[in-house]
Amino acid sequence: MSGLQLQALLPIITLSSLILIQMMFIAFARNLRLTVSISVIALLLTALSFFPMVDHLPISATPLIQLDGFALFYSGLVLLGALMVTFLSYDYLRDQGERQDEFFMLLLLSCLGALILVSSNHFASFILGLELLGVSLYTMMSYPTRGLFTLEAALKYLILSGVSSAFILFGAALIYAIEGKLGFTELAGMNHTSAASGQFILLMGSTMIFAGIMFKLSLAPFHLWTPDVYDGAPAPVTAFLATVSKGAIFALALRLFTTTGLIDLDPLLRGLSFVAMVSILAGNLLALLQDNVKRILAYSSIAHMGYLAVAFVVAGKAGGQIMAMEAASYFLFAYFLTTLLAFSVVTIMSIADHEVDTTNLGDYEGLFWRRPALAAVFTATLLSLAGIPLTAGFIGKFYIFSIGVAAEAWLLMAFVVIGSGIGIFYYLRIIFAMTKAPRTDVKIEIPTASGWVAVVLTVSLVLFGVYPSPIIDLIGELMISFG
């Protein structure tokens, strides 16, 4: 293994060793403040350890890991998400009794899994990364801080996620049976080379992997778990699930399907268009029926994954690949900022509550009078989710729209337009609820860490909505070294 390859593994090594150091501290001296500080230091050091390799991209370190601009961008997003969730969880867990330290260790472990996923170039690291992300997430979800209520969400996610992992494994086994290879790069162009009898098994295998990934991204026919899990899990964990977990899996799916050329398989692409349309429609329509903020956000995330799938479909059409990947990356960046901000508001609202999270629409009534700043922040998030100009969400949706038009995918575009139209209605419903007369005068305390998270995210939400070119340039530069 050369020095360069070791350098490429530096982020993984840094994060793993800091996890072990944190474990030692927890074992000998439990101190929540110290544990959280180590978490923050670990995430910052890991982010720093990406810098030495920037000039040498792309590097493939062992057959398992491929570091290129694409991996770098998504690693940055993962670390950003994990950092924000760390601050939110600190406020959320601080007053919930002792022994909360392991939560932060599990958070780092699942972050490690996500980092492995986004740079994975092999089915082995794909599945190991996925499981590392998942296993830590199950415990974080059912972390018993507020009674046993969260256990239901964790159990649902555990069983369904386990089934979808089994699908992915079986699909990988079928592909291996035909090709005898597991690396994504080695598999490139396999759908053109193998014999006709192998084609069918190859299609079966890729469809199974496809279905597994759809499940993890909660795209429409596979979305049934999403509202319950979003609702039941603690708010910071939901934020992590919605952003880091989905973002990492989306990055992996994009790499898997474009590198191996599986995206050229016509039945798969048609299935993906169908899934995108159904997700947009189902997510937006079902959100109309909800009175629970977390559930509305869950359905809205289904719709947003549908918009992302549109970019995926366009990436499969000839010529539009790099552009589509840029659009998907920007859309995901905006989605990260917006979703993290939305859940940081839900977290702040829920901290005082010791039984379950504050999620009923009624609880948000009169927020403009009780806490104007918090209500303004939440309004900005909802407008960004709806894709209203001056927010990052608008630029993301605009990007998706422009690549769709360029690729002449009119039917998909029609669904995006209809979906956005319906979306505005239920986002505005929350905003109207916040302008009503307040029901109680109970003061909402805004804790320092979460407050700063909300401020930073709001500023970047508006900043990158008004002046998005730094991020667009960065994405364009990083995507060049893809592959």
């Binding site: 062992t62 472990l109 499981e131 590392l132 296993v135 972390y143 046993l148």
Partner: protein
């Protein structure tokens, strides 16, 4: 149909039947017996496709260590005179006939393979040394990630188990 295919389908049938039986048993101990047979059958399949090392690991680690732990826990949980009565019921011929039959099929198969052919029947035989070199060569990262995965599982299981157990006992920790 060639002999390899017959052997494969036989082992696969045993594996499927025992897995279905494991899922549908009401009694945990019975289900575990079928689960062990299912693991033995997949070990035979591994052997047939030329992975003797994986076959041995399947038996030693899954059927051996992990399953015996399961059986121990299940059996420890029903001690006492009720347990004696239950153990008497377990020795009912109806209960052990089916597992014995499935095991017999597997046994005959392995005897046949070992006596008539010296090596695995299809595919390239992968020796333990090759596996080791691969695991600590190009795939060393996978081994390390797997160890982190186990750490996550361990911390999670410990934490959840401890908290819920002490809740059930009325402890305040």
């Amino acid at each position: 149909m060639t002999i390899e295919l017959i052997l494969f389908y036989l082992a696969a049938t045993v594996s499927l039947v025992s897995t279905i039986l494991a899922l549908t048993r009401y009694n945990a101990a019975h289900a575990l017996i079928y689960l062990i047979i299912s693991l033995l059958a997949s070990a035979i399949i591994f052997y047939l496709v030329g992975a003797p090392f994986a076959a041995v690991l399947e038996i030693v680690i899954y059927a051996g260590a992990i399953m015996v732990l399961f059986v121990f826990v299940v059996m420890i949980l029903n001690l006492g005179s009720r347990g004696d009565h239950q153990e008497h019921e377990w020795l009912n011929p109806r209960m052990w006939l089916m597992p014995a039959l499935l095991c017999l099929v597997l046994f005959l198969e392995i005897v046949y393979v070992l006596s008539f052919t010296s090596e695995g029947l299809s595919g390239v035989v992968v020796a333990p040394k090759t596996v080791g070199i691969k695991l600590f060569g190009p795939y060393v990262l996978a081994v390390e990630i797997a160890s982190m995965l186990l750490l996550a599982g361990l911390v999670g299981a410990y934490h959840l188990g401890r908290r819920y157990l002490s809740d059930a006992r009325g402890g305040d920790q």
